[in-house]
């Protein structure tokens, strides 16, 4: 079969290929055989804390393998690989199921890389190192029941009280809400100042006043854990404020430059999974005297999947290359995220079409791909937001002024150990 990841030598090296094979082996051996059952388990509406038995063990395995700290320097407990390695991990995880990639998106992309970018040395020692090793799991809390794309309309507050802040509010659609040990929580320190009145905090689950609840019955991502986080008079020490007071909106948006990158890379893996399933089925299934792969309209769906796979991957790797260089990549990352997520839904849809009625049942994985792909068009920046951003960049109405702390460029010597 055609090697779908060949020909990227301008971006990837032998170490990325070894990494790809390792992550693929892990996902195919330890997740693929169970994923239909795990996915079904998330469809039930149940009360109480998240206790589906597969979630914690598989997260523990991801930590043991070093996937959770893939692009964190070894001195901070990570594997010391680059930002392209982060993309390879996301591709290979989502090629099997999106819930695995979501873990990387929130734990590594949104949370750990924010600590790496903005955190004090003390915060890195206390949180980043155990997170990179997988000893602590981390989440990211921006969205609220009444605010999504319009994040500045958030209602959560953080009131200064001596050497601490008192946090109140509710966050929702939080991946790992019932599992994570720490959360990066964005809240208003000065509700009169709009985006400049927002700050970021490292909140531990064990702090009094923190509680969570699971969401069930989602269209997709059913194998994982999504929920809400309630903060009721939670006393967060001053030392747990990430960045400066009033810098939280910038931190939240910079986090999305990394989160969206992982979503884009994962969507590329989902496209590849849709294509691989379709290639196999199109040769196996016969109609009108031959395999359905002989029919031109089936070939068209396959060729469009190939186009979307390669263009998504190229956009993702360009953004990863820019991250490695230390270049600001908001425009390139959002373009990759927009294109790859929209394409992944279209490819999963075509994969179902190629599978016919079988594709409509969970006897084949493609219906799960479609359900999982739909979320990516909403979370971490809707399709519509990405469209507006691209137009504004092109029209010159949007520029990205330098940040006080940029995401560190990849340094093979420094990161290696």
């Amino acid at each position: 079969m055609l090697d779908l990841t060949a020909g990227y030598g301008m971006f990837l090296s032998d170490e990325h290929e070894m990494l790809r094979r390792t992550v693929r082996d892990f996902a195919e051996r330890e997740v693929a055989p169970h994923i239909r059952t795990w996915d079904r388990s998330g469809g039930e509406h149940t009360e109480g804390p998240e206790d589906r038995p597969h979630i914690r063990p598989i997260l523990k395995r991801m930590g043991e393998l070093g996937l959770l700290g893939i692009c964190i320097p070894q001195k901070y407990g990570g594997a010391g690989m680059d930002y392209l390695a982060l993309a390879v991990v996301c591709e290979e995880l989502e090629r099997v199921d999106s819930f695995l990639r979501v873990v990387i998106s929130v734990h590594t992309g949104l949370n750990s890389l924010s600590l790496f970018q903005w955190g004090s040395e003390e915060q890195k020692q206390r949180y980043l190192i155990p997170q990179a090793k997988g000893e602590l799991l981390a989440g990211y809390c921006l969205t609220e029941p009444n605010s999504g794309t319009d994040a500045v309309a958030m209602q959560a507050t953080a009131r200064r009280d001596g050497d601490a802040y008192i946090l109140n509010g509710e966050k929702i659609w939080i991946s790992l809400a019932d599992i994570a040990d720490t959360f990066l929580v964005i809240a208003k320190t000065d509700p009169t100042k709009g985006a400049r009145g927002i700050s970021a905090f490292i909140v531990e689950r064990t702090m009094p006043g923190v509680s969570s609840y699971p969401l069930h019955g989602k269209l997709g991502m059913r194998a994982g854990n999504t929920g809400g986080l309630v903060l009721q008079d939670v006393r967060v020490p001053l030392a747990n404020r990430l960045g400066e007071e009033g810098e939280g909106f910038k931190i939240a948006m910079a986090a999305l430059d990394n989160g969206r990158y992982t979503v884009a890379a994962g969507a590329t893996g989902l496209i590849q999974a849709s294509l691989e399933a379709s290639l196999k089925y199109a040769e196996e299934r016969h109609s009108f005297g031959g395999p359905i792969a002989d029919h031109q309209l089936v070939k068209r769906m396959i060729s469009h999947m190939v186009r979307k796979l390669d263009t998504s991957r190229l956009l993702v790797y360009r953004a990863g290359w820019m991250k490695n260089q230390g270049q600001r990549n908001t425009r390139e990352t959002t373009l990759a995220k927009w294109h790859a997520t929209v394409s992944s839904f279209e490819c999963a849809d075509d994969a179902i079409q190629i599978h016919g009625a079988y594709g409509y049942s969970d006897e084949y994985p493609v219906e799960r791909y479609l359900r999982n792909a739909r979320g990516g068009i909403i979370y971490e920046g809707t399709r519509e937001l990405q469209e507006l951003l691209q137009a504004d960049f092109a029209l010159g109405r949007r520029i990205n002024p330098p940040l006080r702390c940029e995401l560190p460029a990849y340094d093979p010597t420094e990161w290696g150990g």
Partner: protein, 260 residues
């Protein structure tokens, strides 16, 4: 101590294409570590971690077959060695064992050789015994558990999983051990090590380096023909007016043939 793991590289099963004469088409084949040898690599790493010293992963093949060797290094092997020479291309099990034995003798300080019970491509299962014979060392085959390796006493104790019994065998070192599936759970390559080994080029030894001539490597048996296996005859359908009649006819047939 110095452990050598003999690791064959075999085609990933879904990457194999056949030539017109039913031989395997080597072009574009993706190589993987032979299933049973992966257990041997894991076993070697575990004993190396316990006793220290060297763990050399040794393989034969084309000079560019380095990916799986690097994989074994990323799992935890400390050294590597690739035997590569056009003269090795058509060796049979006996010739391969002769070449590997020569390499092990050249390494000099080897205490223990571990390998898989057979390869998943040629399936001869004769490599480990042939290697032991060439080296003149004891062999312990079909090992399901290595109870102990004692470098000081130069001895090994292992369990052989035979068809109906488990034998515990003690042998002096150096020795050759072949392992079965499920002796352990092979680990994944370590991400920390991947970075370190990705550019390693294993040392390559040729037939001349091993002092072997073409005659030493010539296959002992020659292939004379390769034809498809005869198709199995299809079964016989029992006919009858209804289920009862069919069952009666079937039972009569089974009685006739003294099956029941």
């Amino acid at each position: 101590m110095h452990i050598v793991v003999c690791m064959k590289q075999v085609p990933r099963d879904n990457s194999v294409k056949l030539n017109a004469d039913l031989s395997i088409n080597a072009d574009g084949i993706e190589k993987i570590i032979n299933l049973f040898d992966e257990y041997a690599v894991e076993e070697g790493i575990a004993w190396n971690e316990k006793h220290g010293g060297k763990l050399t992963v040794l393989s034969m093949g084309n000079a560019d077959w380095t990916e799986q060797i690097r994989r074994a290094l990323a799992m935890g092997a400390t050294d590597s060695l690739l035997l590569s020479d056009p003269a090795f291309t058509n060796t049979d099990t006996l010739g391969a064992a002769r070449a590997v034995a020569a390499a092990i003798r050249k390494l000099g300080d080897v205490d223990l050789v571990i390998t898989g019970r057979n390869s998943t491509d040629d399936e001869s299962g004769a490599f480990a015994p042939a290697l032991a014979r060439h080296l003149g060392w004891p062999q312990i085959t079909y090992v399901g558990k290595i109870q102990d390796v004692d470098p000081a006493a130069k001895s090994i104790t292992a369990e052989r999983n035979l068809e109906t019994v488990v034998e515990t065998v003690q042998s002096p070192l150096p020795a050759v051990v072949s392992v079965i599936k499920d002796i352990n759970s092979p680990r994944y390559p370590s991400l920390l090590k991947i970075k370190r080994v990705a550019k390693i080029e294993p040392p390559v030894w040729s037939a001349a380096d091993l002092g072997l001539s073409a005659a030493d490597l010539a296959p002992a048996a020659a292939l004379s023909a390769r034809v498809p296996a005869p198709a199995r005859p299809s079964g016989e359908m029992i006919t009858g007016a209804d289920a009862a009649a069919k069952v009666t006819a079937l039972v009569n047939k089974l009685l006739e043939n003294q099956v029941i």
